[in-house]
Each structure stands twice: as structure tokens, then as C-alpha cells.
Amino acid sequence: MANEQRLAAMTGNEAVAHALRQIDPDVIAAYPITPQTDIVQYYSQFVSDGLVKTEMVTVESEHSAMSATIGASAAGARAMTATSSQGLALMWEMLHIASGYRLPIVMPVVNRALSGPINIHCDHSDTMGALTTGWIQIYAESAQEAYDNAIQAVRIAEDPRVLLPTMVCDDGFITSHGIENVSLLPDEVVKGFVGEYKPSKFLLNISDPVTVGPLVLPDYYTELKFQQAEAMKAAKQVILEVAEEYAKISGRKYGLFEEYKMDDAERVVVVLSSAAGTAKAVVNQLRAKGEKVGLLKPRVLRPFPAEELVAALSGAKAVAVMDRAETFSTQGGQLFTELRAAFYDAPKRPLMRGYVFGLGGRDTTVREIGKVFEDLRGDLERGSVSEKYTHLDVRV
């Protein structure tokens, strides 16, 4: 049975801050950056008002935010931070160290375009650049999902089969600053769900001294990276188990991705995060006209659920994959190229095309996504894609 929940109007950042307050980690080390800033502000107020037991370390940069979070986590604390864009880029070196040391750090990332030129609005260039850092990545469409994902991430990251750091991402300004109705679980229910953090080896256990972060040469490095890759594989099952358990306390069901009106869908748009909300509206409009269209919204990008995505899309005839970041590979966005690769061994492959859209916060409305479905119709009639990948809504 789902618990008594409090429905409140709040921004995505406030919802995430409340998730953090309910998790009440031992240490938060963070640095302000637009559009993440008010997560840190809300949390600082919780600390000042004595609502949490957290030691807050107001570091002098994001590099130090991640370094201090790593230090705290290695010391035996449940440790968290949050960031966006340039902050994530500055952390890049330390992201690999967090995952390589198998520290279950949870980090909300409010997606924002990377400089240059400087831009403070949403796209996914920050977290797409972190796909190879060994972090689990979970994306949210709404403030509610951002809240729910943050709570689930603690259990996923800390599972002994996983022990990997986890980013929970939502869209800068669109989700972080937009006000929505959010259902908050009671504090004690969240505390019960995340439980107490009990690491097996940690620095503050003086009676069992541990060396963390030694020099590892060719004789062992490969094995450590192999174990890390195996942990990422194991994460898929854990993400599903945690989601199932979370559904029991919240009534909200999550998977590796969300399928929206996919049952008989011939034309499908695949898109992450807040743009999926807009895509749902387009699907509704077209369905009202009797068109067989659907939406697939990935939730988890690391681990990449390749087999499950292929299975979910096996009935589609034409698929458009929308990426909110360039890769400059000249072959399309990251999600597009990975999903195409996933279909390499599939017996049946739909027509597939990629779009790069919504860069630097450019609005993507029902009109643009309507055009994407139109393009797919043209491809189906033609029996081939007119262009493998294009930029949506661009002046050339």
C-alpha cells in the first residue's frame, strides 16, 4: 500500500532538496552553479535550521566538491553533492576516481549546456560527456521523477552488487525551476527505505586500517576495471528491484525506460527528460487522429539497457532518436548512435534517424516534435530515411 503523501507545489530543485533532506546524508560538499544553486541553498537552510544531521562542506570549487565527497565517502560517510554543466566538467577527473574507488556517491545533476559560448540553459552536453566516467546515470522528466530518482539512487548505488556512484539528472530551468505538483513521501518512510549506510571498509575504522587509492600498475589495473564493468552490468537488475520496492511505498512505478502508447506504434520518438513530456502531448494529438505513434523515454543511460530497448522497439517501423547534445562525431547524438549500435544484431531493424535538438535551452515545442513525426511518415512512405541525422529547428 502506498503511504500517505503530501502533495505540494514546488520546483524541481526544491523537490530534490527535500529528497536529500529526507535521505539526510552524513556529509554534503557542494558549490553553487546555475541552475543547481537552490538545491544547495535549500539544503544550507535545512542545516541552519537543524533539520538534518549533515555536515555541510561549502567548498571552493566543484573539483573540491567531488574530492571532498570522495574523501567523506571513503571515510565511511554517506556523502553527496550536486552540480550542473561547468561544475560537472570541472569534476571530470574526480568522477573517474569516485567510480574507480567504488564509492556509492549520489549526485543530482541539473542539466545545463556546456560553454562555450557560455549558456546557462538546458541541454545534455554536461552529462553526455560523463557517460564514460563509470557512473550510473538516471534521467527525470519531471520534478516528481527527480525526487523519486534521488531516493532510489541511494539504494542502487549502495547495493553491495553495485557500489557505483550515481547521477540523477533533470533538465535545467525547465524542471529545476518550473513549479509542479510533487507528492512527497513521509520523512520516516524515506529514511526506512534508504536505511543506514554500512560500508565494509572505511578510513575511520582505525582498528582495520585500509589503503584507499594506491598506485595500481599493469598487473592489476585491468582486473579492477573489469570488476567495475561487471558491477555496472549488475546495476541493471538492482535498478529494477529498487524500482519495484519503491513502487510499494510510493505507488509510482519506474523501469529502465518508459513506454508511452507503444503497443501498436509504428512511428516512435525516443527522447530523454522533459522533452518527453512535450512528446507525450504530440502523441496524444496524433493518436486522437488515429495515427499509430508512440514515445519511448529512456530513464537509465548507464548501464545502457540495449537488449530491453531493442525488444521494446521491435514492433516499430520508424524511429526518431532525439539527442539534446552534439557529439561532433558527425554521426549523430550519443543516444542515437548507441541505439543504432544496439540494433546491429537485431533480426528486424526499424528505419532510424537522429535529431540534435534543444541546445542551450532552445524551446522544443509540439510543433517541432510534430515535424519529427511527419519526417518519420515521409521515411515510411519512401522506405528509407531522408537524412540520417539532422539538427532540429536550426537556422542555416
Binding site: V57, I70, A75, G76, A79, E93, L204, I206, V212
Partner: protein, 308 residues
């Protein structure tokens, strides 16, 4: 004052059998400093010679908990460890008294780690940061740092037809750290082991952020004999190239004043990195280095007089 006999009875945190070079100043600094802790310590290490030579997996030279993350962030990493301690202690999850120390070379402290160190000092974490200053990036092969003395021949300030080595002055890091308003900052030399030990004790009991700068000869980079490490440490002090002092809540105290201040050439001459300075034509540069040392020493004495 502790006797050598007493100090030698303190259990070693850094075990023998590590892979640092013969005559390296770093492990001497570590062992002398840790004798002042008087409680279990958690050690943070910046990337550098000390880190790579004491932690070759699956071996470790550290009898205490030890963590290394990256080059520029020992200050931040140690901040996180210390914050975790405060959090778990107040929750009753850790009950023991534990001290925190971070070690970094001059590259990891004066240069790339400067910001993270400044942050840790400004936030006044209850930890001791110790720089073992060998005056260059020795781990990567003797490149100049902002701690490299003027005139030194390094692989990125090489002596050549139109160059006499590093042109610039050293950064005065100890003073910069003291300027953060931290409870304790000091400069030490392993040759003065009792002075060093007493300063370590004070740093560990300062109740907040403490910074210790230790001169740590690198026989490879300095091109001096590995048996002369402690002698080089002594010459650095006796020439006033490396004055011994502490700054306690803004008050400067020079803890050792040489009866006879020896000329800086006595410190420079045994080191191959300064050999070119003694060739004809470079007398002016030697004079300039002596003037720099004199000025800094006089200034330190004046600061002592002013603050007391």
C-alpha cells in the same frame, strides 16, 4: 621536549621497505611529523613521489588508514575525511579520538593543489597539512615549480647559452597560509628534529587548520649526495634560506636564530642544480640571491618584533 629515545619508541605509521630513493627527505618528514600526533591518524596524500612509492598495489607502507585521490586535491579530500569524522562522531557512530593529516609535495601544494589547500585552510578543518618541499616536480623528473629557488637548473628551467636557470623568486607559501588566519602555521627542517616535533605537536593540537612547511631535500633533483640530506637541511637553516618559525594566531616567533648566519653559497655550493652560478660571470646572480635571503630574513625578524 622529548628525548630521541622517547621518540624512537613511538610506533611507526610509515613502514620501512617503501620505494622512495635513498636520502629522500619526504619519509623523514613524515615519520618525524607523525610522532607529534599523539592519537591515531588518517593520512591523505596528494599524488607525488611519496604517494607512488608507498602504495604500490597490492602492497602498502601505511600502518594507518590512508587515502590518495588526485594531484591537486589533497586539501579537499582531507576536508571530506575530516567532515565525515565530525558527522559520524556527533552521531555516536565513531567514538575514538582521531587526528587528520595531509601530505603533499611542493608541486601538489604550492601550485596545482593551492586552491584546494586554501579552501581547506579557510574553512578551518581540524587537520594538519604538511608540505614536503623539495623545490621542484621531482616525481615527473625535476621540473620547476613555484617553490623552486631562483637560479636552480631544472628540466623546465634548464641552464643554457642564454639562461641561468629559474629566473623567479619562490612563492612564500608559509606566510600565505598564515594569512588565512589559521590557528597554526610553521616552517620546519628535519635537521632540527626537536623543533619539528614540538611544532607537529602544536599543529595536531591547534583545534583547527594547521599548515607545516618542511624542507625535504631530493638528492636526485638537488644533485647532492644522498648521505648529506640532513646536512643540507641544516645548511638551509643556518644560511637563513629556510628560517624556522611559527605563526600562532598571527604572532610570529622565530624558533631558531643561527648564532652565525652563514652565506647562502654554503647551501648552494654542494648542490649540482646551482653549479652554473659559480662560473665566472654569474657573480651578480649569487649576490642577488644573497640579497633576497637577507631581505626575507630581516623582514621575518621585523614581523616577529612587530607582532610580539
Amino acid at each position: 621536549m622529548a628525548s630521541l629515545k622517547e621518540l624512537s619508541a613511538v610506533p611507526e605509521v610509515l613502514a620501512s621497505g617503501h620505494r622512495l630513493c635513498a636520502g629522500c627527505g619526504a619519509p623523514i618528514v613524515v615519520r618525524q611529523i607523525l610522532r607529534g600526533a599523539k592519537a591515531p591518524v588518517v593520512v591523505t596524500n596528494a599524488t607525488g613521489c611519496l604517494e607512488v612509492s608507498t602504495s604500490v598495489y597490492p602492497y602498502s607502507s601505511w600502518n594507518s588508514p590512508w587515502v590518495h585521490t588526485a594531484f591537486e586535491c589533497a586539501g579537499a579530500t582531507a576536508s571530506g575525511v575530516e567532515a565525515a569524522y565530525r558527522s559520524l562522531k556527533k552521531q555516536g557512530k565513531v567514538d575514538k579520538e582521531i587526528k587528520f593529516v595531509a601530505f603533499g609535495g611542493d608541486g601538489g601544494t604550492y601550485d596545482i593543489g593551492f586552491q584546494a589547500l586554501s579552501g581547506a585552510m579557510e574553512r578551518n578543518h581540524n587537520l594538519v597539512y604538511v608540505c614536503y618541499d623539495n623545490g621542484a616536480y621531482m616525481n615527473t623528473g625535476i621540473q620547476r615549480s613555484s617553490a623552486t629557488p631562483k637560479g636552480a637548473d631544472t628540466t623546465t628551467s634548464p641552464v643554457g647559452k642564454v639562461s641561468t636557470g629559474k629566473r623567479e623568486n619562490r612563492k612564500d607559501l608559509t606566510k600565505i597560509m598564515a594569512a588565512h588566519g589559521i590557528p597554526y602555521a610553521a616552517q620546519v627542517s628535519p635537521a632540527h628534529w626537536n623543533d619539528l616535533y614540538q611544532k607537529a605537536e602544536k599543529a595536531f593540537s591547534a583545534g583547527g587548520a594547521a599548515f607545516i612547511n618542511a624542507i625535504a631535500p631530493c638528492p636526485r633533483g638537488w644533485r647532492c649526495d644522498s648521505k648529506d640530506t640532513i646536512e643540507m637541511c641544516r645548511l638551509a637553516v643556518d644560511t637563513c634560506f629556510w628560517p624556522l618559525y611559527e605563526i600562532v594566531e598571527g604572532k610570529v616567533r622565530v624558533t631558531y636564530k643561527p648564532r652565525v648566519k652563514r652565506p647562502v653559497v654554503d647551501f648552494l655550493k654542494p648542490q649540482g642544480r646551482f653549479r652554473h652560478l659559480f662560473q665566472p660571470g654569474n657573480e651578480g646572480l649569487l649576490e642577488e640571491i644573497q640579497k633576497d635571503v637577507d631581505r626575507n630574513w630581516e623582514r621575518l625578524l621585523a614581523e616577529e618584533a612587530l607582532s610580539n
